[in-house]
């Protein structure tokens, strides 16, 4: 994979812009109240809109072949996921793919459409190849629109379609790789050590097809048929020199022996009552032990009596247990319980875990993937790309259906989404709990994921708006974890999860419902940052493009620094490491963050700002001579700062700048 690199022309343009964009900035750090997202007028193309710290640059309705003007929200023309290459956006649709040229984000131009029904049309682009997911029963290998009415048919396509897009205006169908459960989503994976191939992880969540349609498909449990299509993902290898030879090379059973209990299940009053009873048992001589995963149990009188009786028998005694017997039991209790739990586990066999993943996000730069799989969030080691291995798993009883994953850039956090209800249901009503259908944020250290908090769209939506956590990406603000995310008809939410325990919304966009009388599907399927803009696939309204606006939460310098990161292409589920070039605007972005966190005294901050501005006006050796002492000064200031890591990062960024020739 090619890491994000600097486009020098873009950088120069951004720097020039930064120099003159200092006035008229809204510095408010208070969300508008009442929330303007509540009570928006309904409508298809004319719904009322609310925006905060983000500006809608353009909305482009679907092209004529991908809209039914007489039926708002026609399910057949749902816009789905996005993929990017150069100036082009590939927008999946349940009826095919539309390609937009967004060289001018104010006026996206339709470049190409191809009609090819079969939901969900999840799309990815890699070099000259386009991959499209097919899952539904009506998808045909010839892309015909007539559907497939036979229950068993070799015309049916469920799996991955592969196209050559050397000439995007004339895509050439190369081959299909059919899979037993079709492809709900897929993830393109690149290997740092295997550059001759690209890999695709296929997640299929629909029922298994007949073996008469695709040989070898079986939905029997794996213990009766080891080739069961359940409880596995598929890995397709695509040889880049011969993509027509693409084939499934492995079907890893990454769920084997998965037995993590769901947490957060208890109501708070239950948990508190239980803690009180454990404390009381401990105080009053009760018997308490731990069963796997730190779960504490109070052992009942029947169990204790039985154990004491066997102790009495073991010493050849009769009658009641003595104080010595009780003491022996206390000493050995934990061991007995552990043995018993283990025996139970063996007797009942390994729990089978989920049968599939919904989506997998890979981060090849750190060799990890986050798998959102049924009732679990998995951490996978993908260094051997064709054979991903599970290295950790979390379950959460507030999570219904683990949908997708996003790592922060440092790989120290992972965010999972819960697509409770599958995306067609209205799960952001005032009555829906904030921890349901939300994001869950975990700290990530080695193979340990530690839950920190939930994040849910903070504005209630009507029962006529499908709404739940959905697709998003990081926005490359240096030094912060900021993400844009689509919430279907909940709109787009931009939030800061740098502090994983206290995620906070910093910008949003929303429209009123499609219809004020009934639920008609629409909204943002995915909202992805791509080279300076947030591009959103609106299910029924087309393609939206947004630009961030500075606020008290996000400075112009931070936005300009984000715009320095340039992607040649982007598949959101193949996370690329964000790398910022040495630049004055990045240093100023860090200074703005220090001002916000009070990490540097105001006088020092002002001095650093003017030293930086002076250095920027110099060049060559003079500039270096100005920057080096500034870096040293800031390193020294770090000693007493409340925000030491940020000051060190800033000092390093200035040193980089000094060393740039």
């Amino acid at each position: 994979m090619k890491p994000a690199s600097l486009s020098s022309s873009l950088a120069i343009a951004a720097l020039a812009l930064a120099a003159c964009a200092t006035s008229k900035v809204n510095m408010s750090t208070t969300a508008p109240s009442p929330d303007p997202r509540v009570g928006l007028r309904a409508g298809w193309m004319n719904a009322a809109e609310a925006a905060w710290n983000v500006r809608l640059v353009s909305t482009t309705p679907p092209s004529p072949d991908f809209i039914n003007r007489s039926t708002p929200g026609d399910f057949q023309f749902i816009n789905s996921d996005l993929s990017f290459t150069g100036p082009y956006v590939f927008q999946g649709n349940f009826s095919g793919v539309q390609v937009w040229d967004i060289s001018n984000p104010r006026r996206p131009r339709l470049h190409k459409t191809f009609v090819c029904p079969g939901s969900q049309s999840d799309v990815s682009v890699y070099r000259k190849l386009l991959f499209v997911s097919g899952e539904a029963l009506n998808g045909r290998t010839d892309c015909g629109t007539q559907g497939v009415t036979d229950t068993v048919s070799h015309d049916r396509l469920r799996g991955i379609r592969i196209f050559d897009i050397t000439d995007i205006a004339n895509p050439r169908h190369i081959t299909d790789v059919q899979t037993c459960r079709g492809s709900h989503t897929h993830t393109v994976v690149t290997s740092p050590t295997d550059t001759a191939n690209v890999y695709i992880y296929v997640s299929g969540s629909a029922p298994v097809r007949s073996p008469n349609e695709l040989a070898g498909c079986s939905d029997a449990p794996p213990d009766s048929n080891p080739n069961s299509a359940l409880f596995r993902i598929e890995v397709i290898q695509v040889p880049l020199a011969h993509p027509e030879q693409a084939r499934i090379v492995s079907s890893p059973r990454i769920f084997q022996d998965l037995a993590v209990p769901a947490r957060h299940g208890e109501a708070p009053e239950d948990a508190a009552a239980f803690r009180r009873s454990v404390d009381s048992a401990r105080t009053h001589g009760g018997f308490v032990a731990t069963v796997g995963d730190g779960q504490v149990v109070i052992l009942g009188p029947g169990f204790i009596r039985g154990q004491l009786d066997s102790l009495v028998k073991a010493r050849g005694g009769t009658g009641a247990a003595t104080a010595a017997d009780t003491a022996t039991l206390r000493t050995n209790l934990q061991e007995i319980v552990t043995r018993r739990v283990e025996a139970n586990r063996r007797r009942q066999g390994p729990p089978t875990g989920p049968t599939q993943c919904h989506d997998i996000t890979v981060y090849p730069a750190i060799g990890l993937a986050g798998g959102a799989c049924g009732g679990y969030g998995l951490l996978l080691d993908i260094r051997d790309v064709a054979n991903p291995k599970r290295i950790a798993a979390v379950a959460d009883s507030n999570f219904s259906f683990w949908h997708s994953a996003t790592f922060n850039n440092d790989g120290t956090k992972i965010l999972f989404t819960d697509e409770w209800g599958g995306g067609l249901q209205p799960r952001c009503r005032v009555t829906d709990k904030p921890e349901w259908g939300a994001d869950a944020i975990f700290n990530l250290a080695g193979t340990t994921m530690t839950f920190k908090s939930y994040y849910k769209l903070p504005a209630p939506q009507t029962p006529n708006e499908n709404c739940v956590a959905h697709n998003g990406t990081l926005i490359p603000i240096p030094g912060r974890d900021i993400m844009a995310q689509g919430w279907y008809q909940g709109g787009i939410s931009v939030f800061d999860w740098s502090d994983p325990a206290h995620p906070k919304e910093i910008a949003f966009f929303d429209r009123g419902p499609m219809d004020s009388t009934k639920l008609v599907g629409a909204g943002s399927w995915s909202a992805y940052w791509y080279n300076g803009y947030i591009v959103s696939s609106e299910i029924s309204r087309g393609l939206d493009i947004f630009e961030l606006e500075p606020s008290g939460f996000l400075s112009q310098n931070e936005i300009d620094a984000a715009k320095l990161v340039h992607f040649d292409y982007l598949n959101a589920q193949d996370q690329q490491q964000l790398v910022w070039p040495a630049s004055f605007v990045v240093a100023r972005a860090y200074l703005d963050q220090l001002a916000r966190s009070n990490g540097l005294a105001p006088d020092k901050l002002a001095a650093a700002r003017s030293a930086l501005a002076r250095a920027e006006r110099l060049s060559g050796q003079q500039r270096r001579d100005a920057l080096q002492p500034l870096a040293t000064q800031l390193s020294n200031d770090a000693q007493g700062s409340a925000d030491q890591p940020k000051l060190r990062t800033l000092a390093a960024a200035i040193l980089d700048l000094a060393n740039t020739r």
Binding site: P64, D74, F75, Q76, I78, F94, G96, F114, V115, C116, P117, A136, L137, N138, T141, D142, T145, Q146, V148, T149, D150, T151, P171, R172, H173, I174, T175, D176, S205, A206, Q245, A246, A259, P261, A262, E266, A267, E269, D270, V291, V297, G302, F303, V337, P351, G353, P354, T355, Q356, H358, G375, S397, S400, F401, G422, L424, Q425, R427, T431, L519
Partner: protein
Amino acid sequence: MTAMASTLLACSTATRQAPAADVRPAYTAADVHFVAGMIGHHAQAIQMASWAPSHGASGSVRVLCERIVVAQNDEIAFAQRWLREHNEFVPPADPRGHLMPGMDQPMLMPGMLTPEQMAQLDAARGAEFDRLFLTFMIQHHQGAITMVEQLLRAPGAAQDGPVFRFAADVNADQTTEISRMNRMLDALKRSPL
């Protein structure tokens, strides 16, 4: 898998075709039966789950029940909407089963509890309610998956986008929930400790 390199795809000429709306596949009687049958099926799950607070269910079962009530109410609303939009009969959300016009007795859809099983569950309290609820709800959910399988075996069925999506969501969500309930049931069985 086919290896037919350099075949020009129909897609690349498809832009000259009429929009797909003109030739959309019709829905079948099996689609209607599936969507309508799910209304009574879900209505029973909601009744079962609504007993949790009054029948002494544990915290984790109560949370599960609360979610089942929300989820299945929304899916009933979807089913009613779909039937109405297609001018089909919309059966009442009757927890006793699927009611068709002219039928006296409701029909039990796959996995649904018999009146005796419902009475048994209604009579249970505390840990016994938890155990029975999980056992019966697993049976109930498995029935929904059976309904999806029956739908997909019917010729021409699930060509309609919303019906396929609904069926696939029911399949994925209920499989996940069965796995969760199995773990909860396992935990209950281990509690003789």
